[in-house]
């Protein structure tokens, strides 16, 4: 016991250290549950709200597809009972705006984040992530080849389809999409492959793919399907110009 006969200075040092350690342990235990903080509560509520909107969106989109299909079926019956050329015109117009399931040959492109990428981490360098701009540039390139139909991960792309990013989330037709991004383009596969093989078409994207920062693969395919557009097509502001005779 003689060994523990400490001076008052040593005792004070031990007590202070003990209190300090106790405080640190307490703070550590508390801060290890960040979900209890206001900031995390708020973030959780926001994430729940987003999830709820996305669930609603999926439901509304499936309703839209189902209703359009039922209207199509009724119009087909109408066409059988009444020989009306306007129904053929309507089908052709619908196909032009992406309201049909498009089938045929074309190219399949896969674009994925780099192996080192962590999409959830905002500090991650953008070079290792597939950005919305990469998708926009590829879609633009495919459009210049007069692609008949384009889809990304099952989302049919039409003229007015926005492809945007919010933080590191990519929204296509305002719908959340996660990598890998599979782009289906139906059209002249020879022309498409030719333009995709030209590294000057999208120099930045090709450079990143060459440096293995992102993954870019493409191949010609024979039997591909692009789904029907499942978003809204409402016109609130556009009116046809009425031309008056001079």
């Amino acid at each position: 016991m003689a060994e523990f006969d400490l001076s008052w200075k040593t005792k004070t040092a031990f007590v202070t250290t003990g209190i300090f350690i106790g405080m640190l342990v307490t703070i550590q235990i508390k801060s290890s549950i960040p979900t209890s903080s206001y900031l995390y509560d708020e973030m959780e509520v926001q994430q729940q709200l987003i999830k709820s909107y996305l669930d609603d969106q999926a439901l509304l989109k499936s309703k839209i597809v189902s209703l359009r299909q039922r209207i199509d079926e009724n119009q087909a019956k109408l066409s059988e009972s009444k020989n009306n050329g306007s129904l053929e015109v309507l089908q052709s117009l619908k196909a032009d705006v992406g309201l049909d399931v498009s089938r045929g040959s074309g190219v399949e492109i896969t674009l994925n984040d780099g192996a080192k990428a962590q999409r959830a981490n905002e500090t991650e360098l953008g070079n290792y992530l597939v950005n919305a701009a990469d998708l926009r540039d590829l879609i633009n390139l495919l459009r210049t080849t007069k692609a008949r139909a384009i889809a990304i991960n099952g989302q049919r792309i039409i003229t007015s389809s926005p492809i945007s990013s919010v933080g590191n989330t990519i929204l296509v037709n305002n719908f959340h999409l996660l990598p890998p991004f599979n782009i289906t383009a139906i059209g002249d596969s020879t022309v498409m492959m030719q333009i995709l093989n030209d590294s000057t078409s999208l120099p930045d994207l090709y450079k990143r793919a060459k440096n293995k920062q992102i993954l870019l693969e493409y191949k010609a395919e024979e039997n591909m399907t692009a789904p029907v557009y499942n978003g809204d097509l409402r016109l609130k502001y556009i009116k046809q110009t009425i031309k008056t005779n001079p």
Binding site: A13, N74, Q75, V97, G231, K236, Q240
Partner: protein
């Protein structure tokens, strides 16, 4: 080393470990908070809300059409209405409506025009044209020819670029001119580019030839 000194050393190491762990715990909070910045998440929520409102309206419109289909007379009217609508969308007829005009003077690459069109459609534009050429399914790609000029629908377009859009004009204008919006980003990236954004009561677009 005496036992007392050893105890002090162990205590100090323990304290050091705890201090380090504490520091890491705080930096983790900081990083997670940065990951979901308020501006981004609020924008995302707004986009999703507007999208769902539009989808909901579309469902109501389709339900109305479907119920009309039970009567043959009404069904033919539905067909006629749809033809008219898709002709407006396809660019088969000349159109007009409220909107905006953005004039850009300076050298641009095709990617900027792609991004501006995307931004406008994202903000709810129903039609967009560039230098009088309406963007539709048949001509939606901006091609860059070998000398760097931009071509759309086999027509070379040059500066100044007049970009017009039909839709809710304040929403469209705000989307373009917001802080860190496309106009600001473009000016930060390109030298000698000037822009002029106008909200207009009437924007007209010719049919696509």
């Amino acid at each position: 080393m005496k036992k007392r000194e050893l105890s002090l050393l162990v205590t100090s190491i323990l304290a050091g470990i705890l201090i380090f762990m504490q520091g890491k715990a705080f930096s983790g909070v900081d990083q997670a908070a940065r990951r979901e910045s308020r501006t981004d998440i609020f924008r995302e929520i707004q986009i999703l809300k507007n999208t769902n409102d539009n989808l909901d309206d579309e469902v109501k419109e389709l339900e109305d059409k479907f119920s009309k289909m039970s009567n043959q007379g009404n069904a033919l009217q539905v067909v006629a209405d749809e033809i008219e609508k898709y002709r407006l969308l396809n660019g088969q007829v000349s159109i007009m409506g409220p909107g905006i005009r953005l004039t850009i003077d300076g050298d641009l690459k095709a990617i900027w025009l792609t991004d501006i069109a995307n931004e406008l459609f994202s903000a709810g534009a129903e039609a967009v044209s560039i230098n009088g050429i309406r963007i539709t399914e048949s001509n939606a790609g901006f091609d860059t020819i070998p000398n760097g000029q931009i071509m759309i629908n086999s027509v070379i377009i040059k500066s100044p670029y007049d970009i017009e859009a039909i839709g809710e004009r304040k929403t469209l204008a705000d989307a373009l001119s917001q802080p860190q919006g496309i106009i600001q980003r473009m000016k930060e990236n390109l030298r000698d580019v000037s822009t002029n954004l106008l909200q207009k009561d009437l924007v007209s677009m010719e049919k696509v030839i």
